[in-house]
Amino acid sequence: MTERSIRRRILIGGVILILILIRVGLRLATLHLGRETDTSPAKYDSRAILLAGRGTILDCRGTDNALALNLVVKDICADPRKIVNSNLVAHAAAVLSEYLNVPADELADRINRPERRFAYLKRYVPEEEAVPVLKFGIPGLFLNDTIVRHYPHRAFMCHVLGFVNYEGAGSSGVEQTMDVYLRGSPGYIEGCVNARREELYWRRNRRIPALAGANVTLTLDQNVQYMAEKALDEVMAAQQCAGAWCIVERVKTGEILALACRPAFNPNEFRTSEENSRLNRAIGFTYEPGSTFKVVAIAAALNEGAVRPDTEFDCENGAWKYAGKILHDVREYGILSVADIVKKSSNIGAAKVALILGEKRYYDYLKRFGLGARAGIDLPGEETGILNPVEKWARIDITRIAMGQSVAVTALQMVTIFAAFGNEGFLMRPYLVKSVNRVTGETLYQAQPEVIGRPIAQRTARAMRELLRRVTEEGGTGTKACVEGYDVAGKTGTAQKALPGGGFSATDVVSSFVGLLPADDPEIVIAVVVDSPRKAHYGGIVAAPVFGSIAAQAVRYLEIPPTRIEMASR
């Protein structure tokens, strides 16, 4: 080999190496500058959505007690063109119909569309049920992951939790009010997939991670809620009533411990539930409260110094004509003190106490107790109740409002009023969302007890507790609300239901009991309302035992020490 040919070969080799180097450089440049121009037909641009679940709703005990959570399930999907091209439409419809429990003609209709490449055959199927579908050997069948909102306890706490609609937006209950926190933000992956829809990870352009929704912790305790719901189920069965609801609240803070309504619905199947069962009666049903409302007139009069507990009134032996109309008592009472008016629940006595106050002052107190306005609970659909302005009152109205007629309230308003008696006159805003936290632990919202007013002074609140305590003593109307070892301060109520065309129903009543315990230094307030009971009518017979049942369990569960300790005999 001559020197010349060696030089030429080296030169050629050098040129080739330089070309390789240039190619390497270009490749590096394109990689780093992102100017990828490869457009192989085997790749398809894709944008895969990364699902972001809604936050979990928890009870007051936190992470272990999930009330609403996400469940990953499957959508069974099909590529209709593939199935049509395989001439398997009839076979696929028959096989899948039997397995998925969907009518065969409906499935055939969805599959027999060769112009389409995608169709849902059945949505939200549990994984263990969905996976075997792929073993039927039908071409073009595939599964897609999807997240659904699920309520593991079904109808339990349904009116508080609410539900989410098809689009994943909260449509009722806490799901609606806390939607802005609960809703997550989905992420996505931009890149390419191959013909089998598998991602070509080296072709990925962008990955935006999903942001999970924040967790909402409620003040509700699922054990207290269970006690309440069980008691309501029992009264529904025993009284064959149209509805029943109850609220348990911490007196000092306004935290709701339980809020239950009957009839209830399963939020997992909200589409098939009746509208009537979806109504949160505890905050959305206004009723004439009857005798439980007498406490407002008595408290106002005591607070104004217009009467004292021992001030006596003539209860006219059960019938008293005022403004041309006769007002009756259930029994023929003669002279009763204010304390006995509460204990015996005299309509005439309460009306006379209100008259001493006068319309203007009485109305002011009604407003100060929050009547005619929302209490401000963090749930949608709260009603304001009905309280006509004093200018529109007829002469008779003051006597009727004093005994809980011509005024409409929600159970929540009654709970708030009674809680003020137990909280030295302070009216607290009821709330049931305790906190909102991100999965990372960051706190987005922390509820604090909030005073919304002080309609009465401390001494009046204490006097009211003492008067209400007598209601559950021997001779009072609320003896069935007694809890062994505890003094209960409460009030019964029975009100005839107003008819749509005017007047009152002769058969349908709303029976209620609202009470505080322990009476001396109350920890909890419970309101029980029973709509149209069939076997009995009086609040002391229908609602008071429900109160007693819930309270007896709740005080033990909440470790509220008894006021009277019965000693064990040896």
Binding site: I10, I20, A66, L69, R556, I565, A568
Partner: protein
């Protein structure tokens, strides 16, 4: 260095070595990137799968420990639980604790039963 009388230039040999090293380094980087990409994808899939399993387990756990489920389980095993009557409850006040002291309470307490111990260890 000579090859049949030709002197191979050292700088050129150095250049070739650098080019070869760069090409190898580039190849190694490419392989490494691909391996990492594969690993990332595998871990992403695994994470998604684990999240899914976690959600489903959370659901089962929530179902299992609901008061209703516990009630049903108790009924299934014929266990009837009632709240104690007030005379069955022994309450110690702060004054009791101060009077007896921790040693006094320990002395007057019964030794825990064997079954209770077992239950605790379980």
């Amino acid at each position: 260095m000579t090859m049949d009388g030709f002197i191979f230039p050292v700088p050129f040999a150095g250049l070739l070595a650098v080019i070869a090293a760069m090409a190898l380094w580039y190849l190694w980087l490419g392989c490494r990137c691909e391996a990492l990409g594969k690993e990332l994808k595998r871990l992403e899939d695994e994470k998604a799968e684990l999240t899914k399993r976690c959600l489903n387990e959370e659901y089962k756990w929530a179902r299992m420990k609901s008061p209703e489920s516990i009630d049903r389980a108790l009924a299934r095993h014929g266990i009837v639980m009632i709240w104690p009557r007030s005379e069955q409850i022994v309450r110690l006040t702060k004054a009791d604790l101060e009077f007896w002291g921790p040693e006094g309470i320990a002395k007057h307490s019964r030794a825990p039963r064997r079954s209770a111990e077992l239950a605790m260890h379980d």
